[in-house]
Symmetry: C2
Subunit: 343 residues, 2 copies
Amino acid sequence: MAERARPGGPLNGARQPSLTDVAGRAGVSHMTVSRVINGTGPVRPTTRARVLAAIEELGYRPNSAARALVTGRTGTLGVLALESNLYGPASTLYGIENAAREAGFAITISSVSRPGRSSIADAVENLRGQAVEGIIVIAPHVTAGRALEAAPADIPLVAVGGGDDAPVPVIAVDQRDGARRATEHLLALGHRTVWHVAGPEDWLEALDREAGWRETLERHGAPVPKVVRGDWSSRSGYDAGRALAREKDLDAVFTANDQMALGLLRAFAEAGISVPGDVRVAGFDDVPEAAFFTPPLTTVRQDFIELGRRTFGLLAARMSGGDRHDRALVAPELIVRESTGPR
Amino acid sequence: MAERARPGGPLNGARQPSLTDVAGRAGVSHMTVSRVINGTGPVRPTTRARVLAAIEELGYRPNSAARALVTGRTGTLGVLALESNLYGPASTLYGIENAAREAGFAITISSVSRPGRSSIADAVENLRGQAVEGIIVIAPHVTAGRALEAAPADIPLVAVGGGDDAPVPVIAVDQRDGARRATEHLLALGHRTVWHVAGPEDWLEALDREAGWRETLERHGAPVPKVVRGDWSSRSGYDAGRALAREKDLDAVFTANDQMALGLLRAFAEAGISVPGDVRVAGFDDVPEAAFFTPPLTTVRQDFIELGRRTFGLLAARMSGGDRHDRALVAPELIVRESTGPR
DNA sequence: CTCGCGAGTGTTAGCGCTAACAGAAGGAAG
DNA sequence: CTTCCTTCTGTTAGCGCTAACACTCGCGAG
């Protein structure tokens, strides 16, 4: 009776103990062991103790593949993440991972370097190949939203940070509200209007923040200056700052994220423009460094951990049959610092 | 013949097609289908075409659990990540994910909020429960190194950013060399010595950077000032800056990361100390924002993508039987900017 | 005393797949 | 024409587990 080699077995070559091994050691049937492990069905306390001892002695670990094969459940969720070091997406990922782990789910990630219809479809396909039970898409792009229109209907999928019109359920921070808060804060300081350095046009968050800024200006009857567009990077904020430094009645600027605000501040410093002396500046995100910019930055804080939790919660609801197809918003908070302080 | 309900099946209730379904449709045996899918064994071109057509029509997707059960391979790697938004760890994660995906492996992450013997052991256990074929630990802590001493011997495990004495193979950026480059750069500018704002004592990278700085000073016969210790945060860099601002012959400062340098610059600005006029400052990491600090920061760049690739490569080698237990270093690069520019 | 019932345990089947081997068909070599 | 390969395809077994049902007790009710 030849021992068949296990191709992918453990390094030391020994076979992992199976339910049957444990059963043999405990002097019971494999079903009793299964019941002890899963808490299904009644088991006499003394038997349970014998089984647990056998499990301990053999170092038994359930075979997840076998379990998944028979139950049809893998206990795994897929997260489709944008490959970026942007503060928001990375923080959201940890929020999701935490919530999922607490609920007993594993997370496998599939990253996408550039969002696009095909790359997102590929990543979704990749995750499905890994038999995930549900998918969370972190890709706050216009293109991502469109790509999801072709999302498979037979697997629960939710998005975090998608737009109003996304074809899937979405949890997002209320970008418009955040932009409104920042803009109103600046207007309340007595400025005639507020300039805006926007994020890239293919990001929904950029569009929402811009819309929130625009709406607020219009509601207050303030003129709407021409938008300067950046790409989230400090470099683009710097370029925007150089351009804005040439404007005559520049008074207040709201940048769509903190990194661009940093570049803007740098450009203003080089141009001899004082913040908040000559111009007041507000950002968005509240990255941990924002309090130490020169000057410390007024900005809008997003609770990414909460965002992750809520997103997981929505997916969990969908997986257990909830058919809600809604959009939930997490409220942001304005953090006031010196960049919009007294002159 | 009752159709048994599939507990975790797809939302629409229909059973996913199996090999047998495809076989029936193509008029062959399930083995022929398996051979077509895996490219094992010869199949007549016309048969192959029929099978591929059937796969397409049914939307067949291999069941990874069944495959894992019989082959003993899951095609999944576990990454144990520190739950932090620090630039380095997050970037490394993407580097690993990329390399793994190219090689056909999936990545599941398990995050650890606070590194410690038990939390790391728990996370490793968690990953093993998911039947990963190998584990990569991103946890550049002293405690992480110690926790890995108890690492299971029957699963390949490598660490990224661990210490010389780690009980497992390690890929790391050469922190000492980076610190040496920064320190020598500052000394070459004519400064008598270089002060150091170090990272937390329980981080190996902090210790290595400090050691590299200290060795360099000693080799050049420069006095070794008292180390100011931070915790990587801008806040701690700010506090360090306030403390250093009181020193008399402060000339040059090397901070162990860029975030702390930002806080330091902020504190110096508030204290009326000009950089590089009065004091020259260098950091470590080259975060994307470093070029836009006030002033732009001289710093040490680490190639995290390369680090991730190399780490995956090492793990792959170990998984295929390589028994190397070595330590490989990735060279960093000094990026000179205004913070150490001419006065 | 019999019956019923619940607690506790065992037996069997089968999830979807690959490994191993067993055929069948056809051509080349003797 | 036989023999022996090579190419292609099919059959069978079994991976480790859970679902479903069958069985054996022991005890209380009728």
